[in-house]
């Protein structure tokens, strides 16, 4: 029993698809007839639907069909067109319904052409010839000439479809990525296409329907492998991906070889074994007004022998391999280099720094260099008086008693004084905590040693310039006309004197400044500093001994300079502050914040940070660059009190007595009567606002 179905759709292809879907068969096992090719009509109006008839062929018939089609490709034209009618009669009666619009054979006044059994059938009874448009891809010959566009047909025309398969070769190329870690095979598959005429009812204009059979042309995997080899790709080739790519019927990109990237390592790290930051806890007042010192944890301290820093070794990466089988080195890893300053020592294995004395640890971290030193701490367990003498110490000082009149305490570090301070001089480089009253004292906090202040930038400049000098000497050595022999006899001195007069004139000035500073402060400098200053003089300035002997000596000097520079623990990693209680008839300078917890009387306080007074400031002159907060200021009819801040800061005072002067930047105001909740500041236009 032959299964036949007629479908309609907007074009023949869609109608065939529909039919195949309804019949649940593949295109290979059916015979297709286009009953009506359909058309757009004029301006899209009156579009006609395409009508196809699809019949399922018997399996044995299929083979027969093929043979017959092959034989009948050279379709000769038959003048007898009546056989076309058999189509209509053999449509199993399905054709009648819905096909009413189709012109009948009798209507064909104009010429018509159709295809039956793979042969063209032309009928041209009248004066109008049927028209034919060749298929899109396949080649059609008319009387031996290729048909390029729409042509008229006359009876007797020989029409022939080119049966030769159309071969579209596969296209592929291999691309390597920049890092040579991946080879991509870009593939466009190749096909061999054969076309066969499809039967079709006669019609005045025939767009020749053809069926297409596609045969996949795989890529030669050996050729791909050969090309890879030619390109030098020998590592990481993936055979199965090549096979997959070669057999792919779709365009795509396949990673046919992949290298192994290097596995990155990790740089060395270090960990510290102490509190790195200075804690800024304020001492707590007890109910009865005394201070609980146990709460004061101001400076981190370490014990002798304590391991301060421990390094964790760097973990080197693992090399990879690129497609050319060359190793890919991972990024070199850096280890931490430990350096010990005063009071600390690096263990033999170079992996730990140990404190040589108790004190305050200082750590400087630059790149992969960690410099650790321990500032000594002096604990003075009684008053500073004539019996104990003045205290002058390179480190922190803790005094459990007071400081008596006329005495002096100076620390290149911080000072903590638990007792009262009389008319004494207190000099702290970093911070001062005075838990008793300060009466008649001269206090300097954060005003660092003048010498060290001046020397720090010089040291950096010296190390930079020395390096430039080294490269200048190296450059000279490369010139053709310059002889270096004499330097071996005389040392670098002769050359240095010329360089310091010419190209390095500025460096000479820096060296002179350093030398002068060192000479001026010789008495208070330690051995290391004096040794360095002498080396600088004999190496660069006083060349009677020939200066530095060779470049190695110059390099040692440069390193020494850097080490000294690093050993400086500038105020940058230390907070400068003064934490005071009651200040009377004293002069206080502080580079950071000042707190006078119980107020002040007739004093001068000058601070670069903010000033906070928990009591009354009665009489005196108070300046704070960073603004101030005062509980009460002035005295009724009493001493003149002046508060001053910079123009961007503000003064907040809970209560201001008459006669008090406040000054913000250059604007000042004197209160003629007492006021509360003063908030003095400048508005954006520079006007002084008081509340």
């Amino acid at each position: 029993m032959k299964r036949t179905i007629i479908t309609r759709a907007k074009n023949p292809e869609a109608a065939v698809e529909e039919a195949l879907h309804l019949l649940s068969v593949s295109r290979e096992s059916v015979q297709i007839e286009i009953l009506e090719p359909g058309g757009r009509g004029v301006l899209g109006i009156g579009a006609r639907l395409a009508v196809v008839k699809v019949s399922v062929t018997e399996p044995e018939q299929k083979e027969e069909d093929k043979a017959r089609t092959a034989a009948a490709v050279k379709a000769s034209v038959s003048a007898d067109f009546s056989s076309a009618k058999t189509y209509e009669k053999s449509d199993d009666g399905l054709g009648g319904s819905g096909l009413g619009e189709r012109p009948t054979v009798q209507d064909m006044q104009e010429g018509e052409v159709g295809i039956q059994d793979g042969r063209f059938r032309i009928r041209a009874p009248g004066s109008r010839l049927p028209m034919l448009t060749p298929p899109l891809r396949a080649t059609l010959y008319k009387n031996g000439a290729r048909v390029e566009g729409k042509v008229p047909l006359a009876p007797g025309d020989e029409l022939e479809l080119d049966e030769e398969p159309l071969v579209e070769e596969p296209v592929w190329r291999i691309e390597l990525d920049e890092s040579l870690l991946r080879a991509d095979l870009h593939v466009r598959p190749g096909f061999e296409r054969r076309y066969k005429l499809m039967d079709c009812l006669p019609q005045p204009h025939l767009i020749v329907p053809v069926s297409e059979t596609r045969t996949f042309l795989p890529i030669d995997a050996a050729a791909v492998r050969g090309r890879l080899k030619e390109m030098g790709v020998v590592y990481g080739i993936r055979g199965e991906t090549i096979a997959e790519a070669c057999a792919s019927e779709h365009s795509g990109v396949f990673a046919v070889a992949e290298g192994t990237p290097a596995e990155e390592g990790a740089d060395g790290k270090f960990e510290t074994n102490f509190e790195v930051e200075t804690k800024r806890l304020s001492p707590k007042s007890r109910e009865d007004g005394t201070i609980d010192y146990r709460e004061v944890v101001q400076f981190p301290t370490v014990a002798e022998g304590q391991v301060l820093v421990r390094t964790l070794p760097a973990r080197p990466g693992r090399p990879g391999r690129d497609l050319f089988d060359r190793p890919i080195e991972p990024r070199p890893v850096q280890s931490i280099v430990l350096a010990a300053g005063e009071g600390a020592s690096v263990t033999e294995d170079g992996r730990r720094v140990v404190a040589l004395r108790p004190g305050m640890p200082k750590l400087k971290h630059q790149g992969f260099r960690v410099h650790v030193s321990v500032m000594p701490k002096l604990s003075h367990t009684s008053d500073v008086d004539l019996k104990s003498g003045n205290i002058r110490f390179r480190g922190d000082v803790e005094i459990s008693g007071g400081v008596q009149n006329g005495m002096k305490v100076e620390a290149f570090g911080s000072i903590a004084i638990r007792g009262p301070v009389g008319s004494a001089v207190i000099d702290a480089s970093y911070s001062l905590i005075a838990s008793g009253s300060v009466i008649g004292a001269q206090v300097n906090v954060g005003k660092r040693n003048e010498f060290l202040d001046q020397i720090e930038p010089l040291l950096l400049e010296i190390s930079v310039q020395t390096q430039l000098l080294q490269s200048a000497i190296e450059q000279l050595g490369r010139t053709a006309a310059f002889k270096l022999n004499d330097l071996k006899q005389t040392g670098l001195g002769t050359l240095l004197s010329v360089l310091l007069r010419g190209k390095f004139k500025g460096f000479h000035a820096v060296l002179m400044r350093f030398s002068e500073q060192a000479a001026k402060n010789e008495a208070q400098l330690d051995e290391e500093w004096n040794g360095y200053a002498n080396r600088l003089r004999s190496g660069f300035l006083d060349l009677r001994q020939g200066g530095f002997r060779d470049e190695a000596e110059l390099e040692r000097f440069r390193r020494h300079t850097l080490e000294l520079y690093e050993s400086f623990c500038g105020a940058g990693d230390q907070t400068v502050f003064a934490d005071l209680q009651y200040v009377q008839n004293s002069h206080v300078y502080c580079g950071g914040n000042v707190r006078a917890a119980k107020g002040g009387y007739n004093s001068t306080i000058y601070c670069q940070g903010a000033l906070e007074a928990g009591g009354t400031l009665r009489g005196g002159m108070y300046f704070a660059a960073g603004g101030m907060k005062v509980k009460e200021v002035g005295a009724p009819g009493g001493a003149a009190t002046k508060l001053q801040v910079s123009e961007t800061s503000a003064i907040r005072a809970g209560r201001v007595m008459e006669g008090t002067v406040v000054q913000i930047g250059r604007r000042s105001f004197q209160f003629v009567e007492a006021a509360s909740n003063v908030h003095a500041r400048l508005d954006p236009s520079g006007e002084l606002l008081l509340f």
Binding site: A480, A481, D486, L487, Q489, T490, V498, G502
Partner: protein, 103 residues
């Protein structure tokens, strides 16, 4: 190897150096040449045949020029070969002695 020749005019002495101006020839410059030309108001040092220098030689030239100038003499350095000039440039001899020495 170092040799020199002095051409004297009424108010000018021209010293023509031949050979390397180095630690050894420096002595000659200081002990022989300097006294011989120091009385002339204008002194010209011809470097046309100087192929090599070292730091001692350069140091002595600078010292010699300084000394002659102190006595109010005008000193000029002439015909410096390009390879020697390269050394002079690196050491900035021009800046040390002043442009007038190289007119």
């Amino acid at each position: 190897m170092f040799a020199y020749q002095i051409n004297r005019n009424e108010d000018e002495a021209v010293v023509i150096f031949e050979g390397d101006l180095d630690i050894e020839s420096g002595e000659v410059l200081e002990e022989d040449i300097l006294p011989a030309v120091s009385e002339y108001p204008n002194i010209r040092l011809n470097f046309g045949e100087v192929y090599f220098v070292d730091s001692s030689g350069i140091g002595l030239i600078i010292r010699t020029v300084d000394e002659l100038r102190e006595r109010g003499r005008s000193v000029k350095i002439e015909h410096v070969r390009p390879e020697v000039m390269e050394v002079f440039e690196l050491l900035q001899i021009r800046e040390i002695l002043g442009e007038e020495a190289f007119d």
